[in-house]
Symmetry: C2
Subunit: 327 residues, 2 copies
């Protein structure tokens, strides 16, 4: 099997690639395991200290460039993980860039898939940001997405395209709506949710962090480990289990910023927690407040998606172990 | 006020233009009546026997061509009725054409508006086709649109763009979801719903008609007169009454094909009804069956939208009078 991952140099792309290499095989559309021959990681740059393996190839270019996509995909491409995106804060700040990458890029990729000899399996990473006010207390699989950010609108347009291309038989598509992933390693990014990793990661690394939202703010979170497991699980789901509705919300946990800081204090001590500086940012607060924090993910549960067990303490423990930190 | 109507040579475009000319004035964003200085009708051709008036100008070109749009819109453009579309059957048969006109055309138009000196009021004509199986017995304002046709997907993408461009302050947008308009004058078109006019119009004109769906099929209909009244009403709604949610379903009536034929027989006699030949078409049946036929339009009702009174008999009477037929 040849698998293409867009955003393959990114944090999730690298972890998905690593997971696939460790598994070594992958179920095809009929549920039969097939060995993975090649992993093509598409991105704008090769990552520093990135994954290197005989089966891994980096394809460097712009995912919104149809020519680059056509050169990278080939008739033996079986599977595509479409993870590349302009993140929420950046898409809000630069409307045209968001439209270009998140809408035009997704469409170019889908169009390239459509012209492959056989329909590829296509996973689209969408986001909890497709939901926005007015919202019920608990978002269910029936809640209408009404995004209140350009990022959310662009992700929802991607979902609709994945749905229609699947219905037409151009691809075998599936979309998962990711909760905010925390704790991400590395540096802060332009996502409005960047702080949800930063206020843990920076203090754990002995660095001060800014929290732009109130302590009472609740978030819908998923750990990096679970996010990768869910992405791979969604990919292996037989198409008929999805039916007409190709999008689903992934399981997550509801945690307030205050609870996250309490976990940090329990695991790493009060000095770590004191590294957080509270500096409200109205623009970030508005975007984050428009996202729901409580979900009923019955559909994902019935489809066998795994859950984060052990709460936020466990997520911090995982991060410390993965990052090789000595506290 | 300068008003631009895309699809201005079409049946609805012509009727909206006529209605606006008859009114002579139009409420601005503050609810103050302003006189209409110019009506620009954008379309691919000038209509036969089309509306001619000193205030009317035809702009002929492709609505998916950004250059044509830029030439037609100007900084004094106050209002845009975006009615142009590739209809449902055609968008299903020619996927690329549908995407080009219904998605790219809408986006080009919105982008042109965004670069005007002041945000224009923008009405987008969407459709009941944004809804699809699985559906509740009655579609409400909270029902999630899950289109099962490319036309429905493309209209829903247009709605999302109108919503985000409004939130960003690029336009003052509003979207109405039109029921199937019946009875349309003129010739059959490539809409899957074309028969919903044809099985009345053709017999009333002494011509045979084909009905591609079962008599029990229920439809959600609006008369041409009400459709025009609702389009103009939605345009005059103050922006703040719409809030975050820019889309709404228009009031309609639920009628089965059997009831439509019974009305035809009551108004025009059994000879007219016998002109209908029942010839099921699986593709049209599938598209039409995916559309809901029963709605709760509480939101439109509370916003003062008018309703079709008098049932389908009245709609046939209106058609006969408008078309100047002598039975």
């Amino acid at each position: 099997m040849k698998i293409v991952i867009t955003g393959g140099s990114g944090f999730l792309g690298q972890r998905v690639a690593r997971e696939l290499l460790e598994r070594g095989q992958f179920n095809d559309a009929d549920g039969n395991p097939q060995s993975i021959c090649e992993l093509v990681l598409m991105d704008i740059a090769v990552p520093t200290n990135g994954l290197m393996n005989a089966k891994v190839r980096y394809a460097i270019g712009d995912v919104a460039d149809p020519k680059f996509i056509a050169e990278t995909l080939s008739d033996d491409t079986d599977c595509i993980f479409h993870l590349a995106a302009v993140v929420s804060g950046a898409a809000e700040a630069d409307f045209d860039l968001g439209m270009q990458v998140n809408v035009d890029g997704t469409r170019s990729l889908l169009d390239a898939c459509r012209h492959l000899q056989k329909p590829a399996r296509f996973l689209f990473a969408s986001s909890v940001a497709v939901f926005g006010a007015p919202l019920p207390e608990v978002v269910t699989d029936e809640t209408t997405p009404t995004p209140q950010s350009s990022y959310g609108i662009q992700k929802l347009i991607g979902e609709l395209l994945v749905s229609d291309y699947s219905r037409k038989g151009f691809i075998d598509g599936r979309t998962v709506r990711l909760p905010t992933v925390s704790i991400r390693p590395g540096k802060p990014n332009a996502a409005a949710s960047s702080f949800a990793s930063g206020i843990l990661r920076e203090p754990l690394n002995g660095v001060d962090a800014i929290c732009p939202v109130e302590p009472e703010t609740e978030l819908w979170l998923i750990s990096p480990r679970l996010a990768v497991e869910c992405l791979v699980h969604s990919f292996e789901l037989p198409s008929e289990k999805l039916g007409n509705i190709r999008s689903l919300s992934l399981p997550g946990i509801t945690v307030s910023v205050k609870e996250m800081v309490a976990s940090l204090e329990r695991v790493a001590g009060s000095a770590a927690a004191r590294r957080i500086r509270w500096k409200p940012d109205e623009q970030i607060k508005a975007i984050v407040k428009s996202w729901p924090a409580r979900f009923d993910t019955s559909r994902a549960n019935s489809l066998g998606f795994p859950h984060d067990e052990g709460g936020f303490d466990r997520i911090i423990d995982d991060y410390i172990r993965d990052a090789g930190l000595k506290l």
